[in-house]
């Protein structure tokens, strides 16, 4: 009876106080655990607690679950759960025509409409019936009834509405109720725990009672790679990465941060997880955090810091010092919507220019981008390896999407992590004598006979003394640049995600657009188009094979969430015609839209 569907996209919307993120994460963990692949997208209001019931206070959680590997949270939703009318108003455009709207009618009453700014005579649900399948349930009442004997307060009871809905969704999407209950029991104890189970069951049974079998869907399990899994967010993954760095380097990492959305979670995760060898430090500001990190690197730890646009702007001077002193340092930019304070909770890829060029003087440093949560841990290890083994600051670009989206993560075999080997620290060699890769020694305080002085003034070749000499300045500028260019020795092969080495169209992307681009390209390939997707992990220096790889394609599209930054950089290095596909709206690409825009290019050609 239950319909089998290979992909299912669900969007849950309601007030930010409704417990939607919790409900969502429960569901996706269950799905992942039962063998579906899942990807998520969270959407928070900018306010901490925007006025309840307003459109600006809506919190959203979208996920896709599928019976094969997927890369994005899906475009239009098959199902939308609306906790209230504001949630429906904000997100209705995302529900597929004919899709299922599951409406919690208690959130569609006169008062809710008024708060959401609708006229009293508006009939949003009646309107919805004409375009969608609609299930209307007064979940508040249902929850209240289920909990009538619970000692919880009325307010607490109505908060359990998300559990009732969880129950119904569990039934609708064929997840295991016992597993879910067990999971809930692990999290909630006492009266609250019991109430949650009761509410959950009420929702679960509703489906059967109401005979909503026609709405039931099952997404078949795929054969996931054996291993132990958990769902993780990008911030968690970066924290794991820093922990792995300390382990692989055999030295401590000082993580110096200053809170800023959406970078703060890295600090929270490190403070909570307390991994060996990683010391988290909340500094007084971003300038202090980057300079403290640099101090730590001088002292023989690896300094790391993270921020978002405004904070990264403040760190520019410190990064220049790191370049001049040639000390290792990790700087993570969790990008958000800019310029200025911009859109703090939204995503964007508009800080690439700043990463490349945002320092005075000739101050190059390697730049990497994280493409998905699942790789962030390994990217951090690679970034640290480049930083330490080349004695250079490394910038790692993440963004709000990666920070907040969750995906199932197979716990890696730690034996497979690369070793990070600090450069020689032979005190017989001069502090700025270079090895065959142009790397100077890392002689750290405490090392007998290694005393030397570093600073921001131009440095004399080899000795490291201050030098105002013209020829030396030119030489050092070139040597520093050459050393940074040489980090390509750490690169793997060019990351061709999908597609042949020649074809009609090459799509080049970077960072968190990975999922949407890959999904779009796969769809086009399924439709018979010769499209290839390359997703750059290294933005500076560029992969040495990139431009020659481009030669295999008649058209090249560069896709990014800004007004044209990577494409500008590429154009300065190639005379190939490059086509721009971008947007700067604070929103991720939709795979479908990308697919359509790419198809357009294919047919135009």
């Amino acid at each position: 009876m239950t319909k089998i569907q290979s992909h299912l996209v669900v969007l849950i919307a309601g007030d930010s106080g409704d417990g939607i993120q919790l409900l969502g994460s429960q569901l996706i963990r269950a799905a992942a655990q039962s063998g579906q692949d899942v990807r998520t997208l969270s959407d928070f209001p900018a306010e901490i607690r925007a006025p309840q019931g307003t459109v600006s206070g809506v919190s959203g959680f979208q996920f896709q679950m599928a019976s094969e590997a997927i890369f994005d949270p899906g475009d239009a939703a098959d199902v939308m759960v609306a906790f209230n009318v504001a949630g429906w108003m904000k997100h209705q455009g995302k529900l597929k025509a004919g899709g299922l709207l599951l409406a919690s009618t208690d959130g569609f009453d006169a008062r809710s409409k008024a708060i959401a700014g609708l006229p009293a005579d508006a009939e949003p649900l009646a309107d919805a019936h004409s375009r969608f399948q609609v299930l209307e349930v007064d979940f508040k009442k249902l929850t209240g009834e289920a909990l009538k004997d619970s000692p919880l307060s009325g307010k607490e009871k109505s908060r359990a509405k998300n559990m009732t809905i969880l129950g119904l969704l569990t039934w609708l999407y064929s997840q295991s109720a016992p597993a879910m209950e067990a999971d809930l029991k692990r999290q909630f104890a006492g009266d609250l725990g019991e109430a949650n189970i009761l509410a959950f069951r009420a929702g679960y049974h509703l489906g059967e009672t109401a005979e909503w079998t026609a709405f039931r869907r099952e997404v078949p399990q795929r054969k996931a790679q054996p291993g132990t899994y958990k769902t993780i967010s990008g911030s968690h993954a970066i924290a794991l990465g820093l922990a792995a760095v300390a382990r692989q380097l055999g030295r401590s990492v000082l993580y110096a941060g200053y809170p800023i959305t959406p970078a703060s979670d890295i600090l929270h995760e490190l403070a909570r997880l307390r991994p060996d060898g990683v010391l988290p430090f909340q500094a007084e500001d971003e300038i202090a955090s980057v300079t403290a990190a640099l101090g730590a690197s001088f002292a023989g730890s690896l300094g790391a810091t993270a921020s978002s646009g405004p904070g990264i702007s403040l760190k520019g001077e410190g990064l220049g010092l790191a370049v001049m002193m040639e000390l290792p340092l990790i700087v993570i930019n969790v990008q958000r919507g800019g310029p200025s304070t911009g859109l703090p909770t939204k995503m964007e890829q508009s800080d690439l220019f700043q990463a490349m060029y945002g320092r005075h003087g000739e101050a190059p440093m390697p730049i990497m981008a994280i493409k998905r949560t699942g790789e962030a841990m390994f990217d951090m290890v690679l970034a640290a390896k480049m930083a330490v083994e080349s004695m250079t600051p490394v910038m790692v670009l993440s963004d709000a999407y990666i920070a907040n989206s969750a995906e199932p993560f197979r716990l890696p075999d730690l034996a497979g992590l690369p070793q990070i080997t600090p450069p020689h620290a032979d005190v017989q060699r001069l502090p700025y004598a270079r090895d065959e890769h142009g790397v100077r020694p890392w002689i750290t305080p405490g090392t007998p006979e290694g005393m030397h002085r570093l600073g921001g003034l131009e440095t004399e070749a080899n000795t490291g003394h201050v030098s105002y000499d013209a020829a030396n300045h030119q030489q050092m500028i070139r040597e520093r640049a050459k050393k940074v260019q040489a980090v390509t020795r750490f690169y793997g092969p060019l990351s061709v995600e999908v597609g042949a080495p020649t074809g009609d169209l090459l799509v080049v992307g970077w960072g968190s657009t990975y999922g949407a681009l890959r999904t779009a390209v796969e769809a086009l390939r399924d439709a018979g188009h010769a499209v290839t997707h390359v997703h750059l992990k290294h933005l500076f220096p560029l992969h040495p094979d990139l431009f020659s790889f481009m030669e295999g394609f008649s058209q090249i599209v560069v896709a990014e969430l800004n007004e044209g930054q990577l494409i500008h950089v590429l154009r300065s290095q190639t005379t190939r015609e490059l086509v721009f596909l971008g947007q700067t709206s604070g929103q991720p690409f939709g795979a479908l839209e990308v697919q359509q825009r790419l198809a357009q290019h294919l047919s135009d050609a």
Partner: protein, 321 residues
């Protein structure tokens, strides 16, 4: 025994001839020698300014960092390796203008580092603009008709910020300067040592009343813990705390026992001393208190950590066979 010379690097010292910085460097290296410091374990961190060139001249590890940021750099160093002997070298502009925020936060955290603040009441390296400590009316390149700003008092600022050690000395009293450096280091936590330093090029004689042997005794009070606060030729003058008001009295007229006995551990009295910015000013340790040292506390609190394996296993996991 090491001598001061052992702590000089091979770099040519390049301050202006006659600059007070020379004396501070000399006393600093001698103190390092007296302490039998290990050059390999010593790190001298500075910002930018004439004073901040000092690390280049010291045979130790050194970092000439960014204007105003030495306290943050030093905090990072201390967190990374609390066993290093870290010193901060800074100027009045470096510490109190651009770097004010890092200074107050290092002080309140009580990071274990002595801070030698070379106060010459001018921007030396940038050739003579007024600084936050310049007295109102100061004529400088940026204030040809006299400055307007009410100056920062580094001592009250530090005390207000929660500093655990405040002291003042001067370039031209080597023995006192060495003693204060020694005490600042011995304090263990953040120790602010303000050093009156003559910039003979852009602000010559700023502290002459206090540093010149002829006038010193009438203007400079050398504090000693537990001793009456006296000054003047033959110690004929003393301070007396009349309620909350500081008065100068004659020791002829009032017995020493009734005068103000210096108590380094009294914050209120420290504040009274710190506020003395007139013709008579105190030198020595104005105030100190014991408080746990930041980096030690951080490491103690962070003692219980988890292996990467344990961290990975945290949270809800499931296994696919």
């Amino acid at each position: 025994m090491k001598s001061g010379k052992d702590f000089l690097s091979d770099q040519e010292v390049r301050w202006c001839p006659g600059c007070g910085d020379y004396s501070v460097l000399k006393q600093f290296t001698e103190v390092l020698a007296q302490m039998d410091a290990d050059p390999a374990n010593t790190v001298v961190v500075s910002g930018i300014g004439c004073a901040s060139r000092l690390p280049y001249y010291v045979n130790a590890y050194g970092m000439h960092s960014l204007h105003g940021r030495a306290p943050a750099v030093a905090t990072g160093i201390k967190l990374a390796n609390p066993s290093l002997d870290v010193w901060i070298i800074t100027g009045d502009g470096d510490a109190l203008s651009i770097g004010g925020n890092h200074l107050i936060h290092a002080l309140r955290r009580n990071v274990g580092v002595p801070i030698l603040l070379f106060n010459n009441e001018i921007y030396g390296l940038t050739k003579g603009q007024y600084s936050p400590t310049s007295r109102a009316g100061a004529i400088s390149k940026s204030t040809p008709l006299g400055s307007i700003d009410h100056p920062v008092n580094p001592q009250t600022l530090a005390l207000g910020a929660g500093a655990t050690f405040l002291a003042r000395s001067m370039d031209r009293h080597p023995a006192h300067l060495r003693e204060m450096m020694t005490r600042a280091k011995a304090h263990g936590g953040s120790a602010l040592l303000e050093i009156y330093q003559n910039c003979n090029v852009f602000h010559d004689g700023a502290f002459e009343a206090f540093t010149d042997k002829k006038t010193q005794s009438d203007h400079a009070i050398f504090l000693e813990h537990g001793q009456p606060i006296t000054f003047g030729v033959d110690h004929d003058k003393a301070l007396w705390l009349d309620g909350q008001t500081v008065r100068i009295v004659s020791t002829m007229e009032r017995p020493l026992s009734e005068c103000w006995i210096h108590d380094e551990t009294d914050a209120m009295k420290g504040f009274a001393l710190a506020r003395m910015t007139g013709e008579v000013r105190p030198f020595g340790v104005l105030y100190r208190e014991d408080r746990p040292i930041f980096e030690a506390q951080v490491h103690a609190a962070h003692a219980q950590t988890r292996s990467l394996e344990e961290v990975l296993a945290l949270g809800r996991t499931w296994t696919v066979e």
